[in-house]
Amino acid sequence: MSKIDWAAFPDARGHFGPYGGRFVSETLMGALDELQQVYEQYINDPDFMAELDHDLKQFVGRPNPLYHAERLSRELGGAQIYLKREDLNHTGAHKVNNTIGQALLAKKLGKTRIIAETGAGQHGVATATVAARLGLECVVYMGEEDTRRQSQNVYRMRLLGAEVVVVKSGTRTLKDALNEAMRDWVTNVDDTFYIIGTVAGPHPYPAMVRDFQAVIGREAREQHLEMTGKLPDALVACVGGGSNAIGLFHPFLGDESVEMIGVEAGGDGVETGRHSAPLCAGQPGVLHGNRTYLMEDENGQIIGTHSVSAGLDYPGVGPEHAWLKDIGRVNYVSVTDDQALAGFHRMTRTEGIIPALETSHAIAHVLDLAPQMRPDQSIIINLSGRGDKDLNTVAEREGITL
């Protein structure tokens, strides 16, 4: 594994081993070629990168802290736990790192209209936010089921001037929102830029979103070295599409001593079939523009997923994760809804930080992992988002009406 040149992936056509690629209808191929070209040009352009850094600092509030969760670490009695505080970003999650970058590219391409899909609403809010700032028209597709459980984010997007289209096809969740966004893009490809929110979709999206999110891992690596004089022993992040996880993991891939764990949504338990854990319990297939692990039936139809967290409720996963799983560089596990809820409460009560339900999956795994490690070891959790948006869901599960 030490011989892998991590920077060489994906290859020129967007492949991570057998995964990734570009599986879209012909109408979009030209737009993807154009995007790839522009992206490759600007990611190596010092002026563009300076503009991006400026926005990340002044608008998003980066760098955000790497916080030593001393009380939680002490209680668990094992490894030291550090939280990469993406929840402190403007808009409350890591999603904005990517929307800032893609919106700048949209400007460079002269596009006047932005579209996005969203599950929990965090990516939709982050997209509506940058669109408002840049004066771009914005349409966000969101499954009907998700608009119900994330009604505050729907209102937030509308306040920001975005049109929120409620998607009523299929399972009425994130995958259907993505289908609908693709249909919009294929129809309006001339003036429209599609800001995909995760490290999935056709090439160059998985690589591009990863590169915009890798700021998380770059900062965390530097901060951890500065605070402790060494690298962390483990990194833990939740995985839906996988953008916060890849953002944290990627800058550490070459550090062989650093163990990495991606935590999928186990829903009611992987054994029940009601979950959103394609890496743990799915198999490779093609959906939404890339080859990756999917949740599908024996006929190749995509099956309905379940998670308490709207942001993880998706039957696929970024292709780089599929590859990292196969080569064994990252270990993927799942935790159930109930475990995630326990993680949510533990973090809230112990550290005074209300995490998103997505993030709570990573926390839940660390509640098990940390006690198995020594106090001189350390874990970084990507605290990918804050939990304000989830208060209704948590209250509802506990029989409380707000």
């Binding site: 570009r22 209808s25 012909e26 191929m29 693709m182 093609v286 006929n299 139809q301 995509i302």
Partner: protein, 277 residues
């Protein structure tokens, strides 16, 4: 000579354009599909495009999305669709049948198993909308070895360089997507279409089919004047929804639409017909 080549050769000789109706297999119920295919042929279809239902039909508009949902209520699988093709072939050995769908069901079945089963069933072509030539090498080789034509799309946004690439991989005919959008979209600019097809003919000698946005006999006739084949999908599939589970009523209505299109197309191609494009 393949059935597809044979059919286009006959039509060329008669100076007619091919009429290719699309129906989603298993819609409104699996038993309806084979009789429907025969009815379409009797009404003047030259080639049948059979849709393979998929849970996430990203390139399709609402009409075909709903057709997929209806078919999937019966669990219509790719293997079931191939069985329908085999059943159709028992009594029709000349009308080419092309499957249109998405890659994942084919991947799940396995390329080799698909090619072998499809060959036995008497399938003639496969069009997977989410499989551009760049990703298709493996499946194309297996299809060709089984005598099944891989059909590829060309879009209004396809560059000249890509057209060559698509043309090299394509067999049977080239499917020109007449507009930017999903299936069943509204408008079709026939004069821009004529120009575009002329350009395409410089890159490929294959017959050119045109689909997306052909809604009625008049549009079909206009397209027939410049294209080698006219593909009609949503305009037929929407009749299934209108007949709400009545398979016979749907088949009769679909046959009527196909016959009207057939007649209008033949008139438009007949000597002395005024050019309307």
């Amino acid at each position: 000579m393949s059935r597809i080549e044979q059919r286009f050769a006959e039509l060329r000789e008669q100076n007619r354009a091919a009429l290719i109706p699309y129906v989603t297999a298993g819609d409104p119920e699996p038993g309806a599909t084979v009789p429907l295919m025969h009815a379409l042929v009797a009404a003047g279809a030259d080639l049948i495009e059979l849709g393979v239902p998929f849970s996430d039909p990203m390139a399709d508009g609402p009409v075909i999305q709903k057709a997929c949902e209806r078919a999937l209520r019966f669990g219509t699988s790719l293997r079931d669709v191939l069985a329908m093709v085999a059943e159709f072939r028992k009594t029709d050995t000349t009308t080419p049948v092309v499957l249109m769908g998405y890659l994942n069901p084919v991947e799940r079945m396995g390329y080799e198993a698909f090619a072998a089963t499809a060959k036995t069933a008497g399938l003639d072509g496969l069009l997977t909308v989410d499989l551009p030539p760049e990703e298709s090498e493996e499946v194309v080789d297996l299809l060709e070895a089984s005598g099944i034509d891989p059909i590829f799309l060309v879009a209004p946004t396809t560059s000249d360089a890509r057209i060559d690439h698509v043309a090299r991989a394509a067999r049977g005919f080239v499917y020109y997507v007449s507009l930017k959008g999903v299936t069943g979209s509204q408008t079709l600019d026939t004069s821009a279409l004529a120009e575009r097809l002329e350009g395409l003919r410089r890159h490929t000698g294959l017959p050119l089919g045109v689909g997306f946005g052909i809604r009625d006999a008049q549009t079909a006739a206009q397209v027939a004047q410049v294209a080698d084949a006219v593909v009609v999908g949503s305009a037929i599939v929407r009749l299934a929804e209108e007949h709400d589970g009545d398979a016979d009523g749907f088949a009769r209505a679909a046959a009527t639409v196909v016959r009207e299109m057939r007649d209008a197309m033949d008139v438009a191609r007949s000597p002395g017909a005024a050019a309307t494009v």
